[in-house]
């Protein structure tokens, strides 16, 4: 493949239609349709009189203020709260088991925003899109508001009292024990050591009880392979910060796997061209993942071929050109001998010699490399085999013990596929007396073939701890709603030696009880076992455990009380870790692997993947999450069937997906299950693969999430104790129907104007200006503004940006941006102030991808300012392009004149939030905009104000980096830097002058305040 580098702009496109100049016209998109609601008829005489009297009433109403407002002060003012000032508490994000460090911002006792905890050793200040959105779940009006009892025959849910619920629970648990049947606690991954200890005590209350852990996005194969290769069932700690070469075999570690914020942060720390060295990312995958879009080199293979590709790499290193001590191990040599690189390359359809080159590259970087494979990327039969092969590679290359560290093992994914499928079998056989389900939704997420719903009917007593009447809770006898993580105490140890706390930031909004509190209560009522007489609350238990376990290990000098307060304040504590070192690879692991058989030539293979936004579907009822477009497909509010361009062409489906608003609907048939879903072409997908996102198709998530897309878990396979989500044989058939698909990119075209610039690391090293289309100063009719004090600016590094979209949700949360829903997104009227534009370039079958955050550029010569007839958008003395909402009359001239399309118009009254609980999440520092006015990025003007006020109160000059916009704050890769361009020592001022810096559409001479840094790719074969 040849690349145009450094000379002349590269052609970028957002979709195949864009690439081939066949974008639909603006008229056909429906954006400029006359709304049918517009009243056209003139008022009748009667209505005229009515209107007249309304006017008179208006005139007469002047005597008293309407409505009369009441001020209800505190009865006893809490010491730490000053109305109007925010209070921040350190906590831990509870959205997924990654357990990222977080800080929650509260106003008058209401949590309104989550941010990453900058002091957290793993995740720094970063937080992902889902973490940012999790604060909305707290106020979800579809949460259960009280303990509930379910009629299992009719599925009717009714409110109950805790007394009633506990009585039913204890009866059910006692009955199970008396019948000699097992009590099973089925949970998702629990990263809380204190909760795990409490669960142990709970289980000991019963003669036969067991804790089964099940995680729909599973890392089971990885843990099992670790066990067979190194003797310990763990997930090793991964250190991307030490890796010069990262090879991912279908592992979406930047988007969805295990701990994306931590990984993205560490990975990007090695991707700074200015440092003189740059890590290389090689991705070998079947579908197009977020990680794949960031690859320097990307190879497409069918999921069935991932295993032989890994084995062929081992063959290159250990057999064809024996290197390292493991090459002398006859068992290993024997196992990998048959996987010759050239044969595998030919079968998998990857360029000849690419595996040998990759093996050589890995060998050069031995001890500084990291090879990863997605635990669910290969078909179930070879999922463990793929992981074993990867372990072999890491051991052979001396990466084990360096970039993979068993001593800092991760707790972030603990499920066992075998345990959960065996559990369902035991349920079906009637062996289970009581089933308690917490944190997972097996009725939704287990493959249909496992038959959870049917098996649950054979269980005497089923309890759910879900916060809503979800799919599994509907099959239960009782629902004991758990609290939101911001309402309760908890602790987390995501990686060995890293401890963090969660403290309640608000009292439970409804009559709900923490899961742990419920377990303790039931232990007391059951009256047997170690907790029969326990009087401690969950908080007492947690604190006591920290006194006994964490405090001594943390080696703190202060007494425990001070240590505890410090831990709450900082949110995170480190304890000493045991000495680490490489573990020796047990070659016996290779002997038990099943024989590999090639897939039928050209057969279609289904891959199910968790999307960056919806993940496993746990927060499908969160409108912020549904509205974030998938970073790769740019589709919101739906999952679709993704198909490669060449396959679509062969099947005559290319035209069917041209219009980004509507697509042909296909029937996807995996034999054991089938459903209809619209099709979309996805560049970069393997031609023999179709991919569908899981997490959609919820039936009992709530009013937002129900019926959005199809439940792709239904197509997953369950064979031999493994759940297969890749390499599922599948058929697709056209239905002749069409459906709408809300894609937020594809309707805008850059008209081939260069919007972003890129280069290769080799070129960059020769000339740091490489690829940068910047031309320096252009003549202007305008005289330059003078900025006497601050001049706010931003720098965005396109090399660091991975497209994760965390900034989009952070911005939404900070700035009260409404989610508008599918219908309105289809009209191109989404409200995001910052979006991530995704551009492809090169071969449509395997393109290179660039992500570009796009937000108001705060131009010095702002085209919007000159056309506003009412001075609603003006230039501030600090270089902000400010929007004064109460002046705006909604002409939309500014938006028409904006070359970046970053202004958003309120077509509807989004400020009128009907659900009262949802008003509580609004940031009181940001005006809620009404219908008919324009809005856009303000550079978080309220945060600028707060920063200036802080400095003013302290009487010190504003420190650089003190003001962080919401997008900058949450960015896991630190791609966004905000600051004062007038301060020559500020980071942003230096970046603005950096050789890689360019402004977008410079030729328009708008003089943006945002400087982008060219994207640098570290391609193979181009030096470095």
């Amino acid at each position: 493949m040849s690349h145009v580098v450094g000379n002349g702009p590269k052609k970028y496109w957002t979709s195949l239609a864009d690439r081939e100049g066949r974008l639909p016209s603006a008229e056909s998109t429906g954006e400029f349709k006359t709304p049918s609601e517009t009243p056209t008829a003139l008022p009748s005489r009667r209505e005229f009189l009515k209107l007249l009297s309304a006017g008179a009433a208006f005139a007469a109403a002047g005597c008293a203020r309407k409505p009369v407002e009441k001020v209800l002060p505190y009865l006893r003012a809490p010491e730490e709260i000053t109305p109007g000032n925010a209070v921040y508490y350190a906590t831990t994000c509870g959205e997924c088991p990654a357990a990222c460090g977080a800080v929650v911002k509260t106003r008058e006792g209401r949590p309104i925003k989550l941010e990453g905890n900058p002091d957290h050793p793993l995740t720094g200040g970063g937080l992902c899109a889902r973490g940012q959105a999790s604060v909305l779940n707290l106020y979800d009006p579809d949460r259960l508001r009280s303990p509930s009892i379910v009629d299992r025959t009719t599925g009717a849910v009714r409110a109950a009292t805790w007394g009633e619920l506990d009585k039913k629970a204890v009866l059910g648990l006692k009955q199970a024990a008396e019948q000699g049947k097992a009590v099973i606690l089925l949970t998702g991954t629990i990263t809380s050591p204190s909760t795990l200890a409490l669960i142990d005590g709970f289980l000991a209350s019963f003669p036969s009880a067991e804790h089964v852990v099940y995680e729909p996005v599973s890392s089971d194969a990885l843990a099992r392979a670790q066990e067979s290769c190194y003797g310990e069932r763990i997930i090793p700690g991964l250190d991307f910060g030490k890796a010069d070469v990262v090879v991912s075999l279908g592992s979406d570690f930047l988007g969805t796997w295990l701990s994306p914020v931590e990984f993205a942060r560490a990975f990007s720390s090695r991707r700074r061209p200015e440092s003189g060295a740059m890590a290389r990312l090689v991705v070998i995958e079947s579908s197009m993942s977020l990680t794949g879009t960031n690859a320097d080199q990307r190879l497409r293979v069918r999921p069935e071929h991932l295993y032989p590709v890994a084995m062929a790499l081992a063959n290159e290193l250990l057999v064809r050109e024996p290197r390292g001590p493991l090459a002398a191990d006859a068992v290993i040599v024997n196992a990998v001998r048959t996987f010759r690189a050239n044969g595998v390359e030919a079968a998998a359809g990857i360029p000849e010699g690419s595996l040998a080159a990759l093996a050589n590259r890995l060998w050069e970087a031995r001890g500084r490399g990291l090879i990863l494979a997605g635990p669910q990327a290969a078909p179930a039969a070879h999922a463990v085999g793929l992981q074993v092969a990867v372990n072999l590679l890491n051991s052979a290359l001396g990466n084990e013990g360096v970039t993979l560290d068993a001593s800092t093992a991760s707790r972030q994914s603990a499920g066992s596929e075998e345990a959960v499928t065996r559990l369902v079998e035991r349920m079906r056989a009637g062996d289970i007396g009581a089933l308690l389900v917490h944190g997972v939704n097996p009725a939704y997420s287990l493959p249909g073939a496992v038959g959870f719903a049917e098996a649950a009917k054979r269980v005497g007593f089923v309890a759910s701890f879900a916060d809503r009447a979800d799919e599994t809770a509907m099959l239960s006898d009782i629902i004991s709603p758990d609290t939101h993580f911001l309402e309760s105490w908890n602790d987390h140890e995501p990686r060995r030696g890293v401890w963090s706390l969660t403290q309640p930031a608000i009292a439970p909004l409804y009559d709900v009880r923490p899961f742990q509190e419920t377990l303790l209560a039931w232990c007391r009522y059951v009256g047997t076992g170690p907790f029969a007489t326990i009087t401690a609350t969950w908080h007492d238990w947690l604190r006591d455990r920290w006194r006994r376990e964490v405090y001594p290990a943390a080696d703190a000098a202060a007494p425990f009380e001070l240590f505890w307060e410090g831990a709450l304040r900082e949110g995170v504590v480190r304890t000493g870790k045991p000495a680490s070192g490489p573990r020796s690879f047990r070659s016996g692991a290779l002997t038990t692997l099943p024989e590999w058989t090639a897939p039928a030539e050209g057969s279609l293979s289904l891959v199910l993947y968790p999307s960056v936004s919806l993940y496993d579907g746990r927060s499908a009822n969160n409108a912020w999450i549904q509205e974030v477009p998938d970073p790769v497909t740019k589709i919101s509010w739906d999952n679709v069937v993704l198909i490669a361009p060449s396959r679509a062409r062969d099947l005559g489906l290319l035209g069917a997906t041209e219009n980004h608003l509507s697509a042909e609907v296909l029937t996807v048939d995996a034999g054991h299950a089938s459903f209809d879903l619209p099709v979309q072409v996805q560049p970069g997908l393997h031609p023999d693969v179709i991919a569908i996102a899981i997490g959609y198709g919820r039936r009992a998530a709530g009013r937002i999430g129900n019926g959005v897309g199809q439940n792709a878990y239904a197509l997953a396979q369950a064979t031999g104790g493994r759940i297969g989500t890749a390499g599922i044989p599948v058929k697709i058939n056209p239905t002749g129907k069409r459906a709408t698909v809300a894609m937020s990119q594809g309707h805008q075209s850059t008209e081939e104007r260069p919007i972003l610039f890129e280069t290769s690391f080799a070129e960059y090293q020769k000339d740091p200006h490489a690829g940068n289309g910047s031309h320096g100063h252009l003549p202007s009719m305008w005289s330059r503004h003078k900025y006497a004090g601050h001049k706010w600016g931003m720098a965005i590094d396109l090399t660091a940006c991975i497209g994760c979209s965390a900034c989009m949700v952070a911005c939404r949360s900070e700035n009260n941006i409404p989610a508008v829903g599918k219908k309105v997104v289809l009209q191109g009227r989404e409200m995001d102030w910052i979006r991530i534009d995704r551009y492809y370039s090169g071969d449509p079958e395997n393109p290179e991808t660039a992500h570009q955050p796009m937000l108001c550029q705060h131009c010095e010569n702002a085209p919007c300012e000159t056309v506003c007839p009412v001075l609603a958008t003006t230039h501030s003395s600090e270089g902000l392009n400010v929007q004064t909402y109460n002046r705006c009359v909604g002409t939309r001239y500014c938006s028409n004149n904006c070359p970046y399309k970053v202004r958003r118009f309120n077509w509807w009254e989004y400020s009128d939030v009907k659900e009262k609980s949802l008003r509580l999440v609004l940031n009181p520092d940001v005006t809620v905009r009404t219908k008919g006015i324009m809005e856009k990025c303000t550079f978080c003007v309220q945060r600028i104000r707060d920063g200036k006020e802080r400095a003013k109160a302290l009487g010190v000059p504003l420190p650089d980096g003190d003001i962080q916009t919401a997008c900058m704050q949450t960015c896991p890769t630190n791609a966004i830097v905000f600051g004062d361009l007038n301060d020559p020592n500020s980071r942003v001022a230096k970046l603005a002058k950096n050789e890689r810096g360019f402004t977008v559409l410079e030729e328009l001479n708008t003089l943006p305040s945002i400087t982008y840094q060219t994207k640098v790719r570290n391609r193979e074969g181009e030096g470095a």
Binding site: V68, V71, L75, T82, P83, L880
Partner: protein, 171 residues
């Protein structure tokens, strides 16, 4: 545009009448003179006037927050557990506090939601509370004396060379 037939005059008339109504209506938003009756007839004359209690004793957050706030009931009870406990109004207050009820004061001064007005910087500049709130220490019933409209804000900012940036108040 065609001739002004009856059908065309009609909407113009509606707009004119509505406009006149709205003008009177919105002008009344200034609320100067608004002095609602309060659930407990709290007298600023007694507290701030006769007894010379500093404004910030009760409205402390005015110094450190955007809001001056109506004081929490426990601030009242700082004194009224011993002072004037025989007065019926104080007994009403005490009963409410004992019953864990907040006093439903009626709001007098109100700025629209799209305005950011920080009390603390105005207090820090040494602007007397009375400059905007009038002689509160002489008011038995608190009354709004200033229009609290943008023109009124700006005129003071202009006189004092304070910021006139849109984004100083609108964000």
């Amino acid at each position: 545009m065609g001739p002004l037939t009856g059908n065309r005059i009609l909407p113009i008339l509606v707009v004119a009448v509505l406009g006149a109504g709205a003008w009177t209506f919105f002008d009344s938003f200034s609320n100067v003179g608004y002095a609602p009756e309060q659930p407990i007839p709290f007298s600023h004359t007694i507290h701030a006037g006769t007894n010379k209690i500093p404004c910030l004793y009760c409205h402390g957050p005015a110094e450190r927050s955007r809001h001056a706030t109506v004081p929490a009931s426990n601030v009242c009870m700082n004194c009224h557990t011993v002072v004037a406990t025989d007065k019926p109004n104080i007994q009403t207050l005490t009963n409410m506090v004992n019953a864990q009820q907040s006093v439903p004061w009626v709001r007098v001064h109100r700025l629209p939601d799209h305005v950011y007005f920080p009390h603390k910087w105005h207090v820090a500049k040494g602007i007397a509370c009375q400059q905007c709130h009038g002689p509160v220490e002489t008011m038995d019933v608190v009354k709004q004396v200033a229009p609290l409209k943008m023109g009124w804000c700006i005129s003071c900012h202009r006189q004092n060379q304070a910021t006139q940036e849109c984004s100083a108040c609108h964000m």
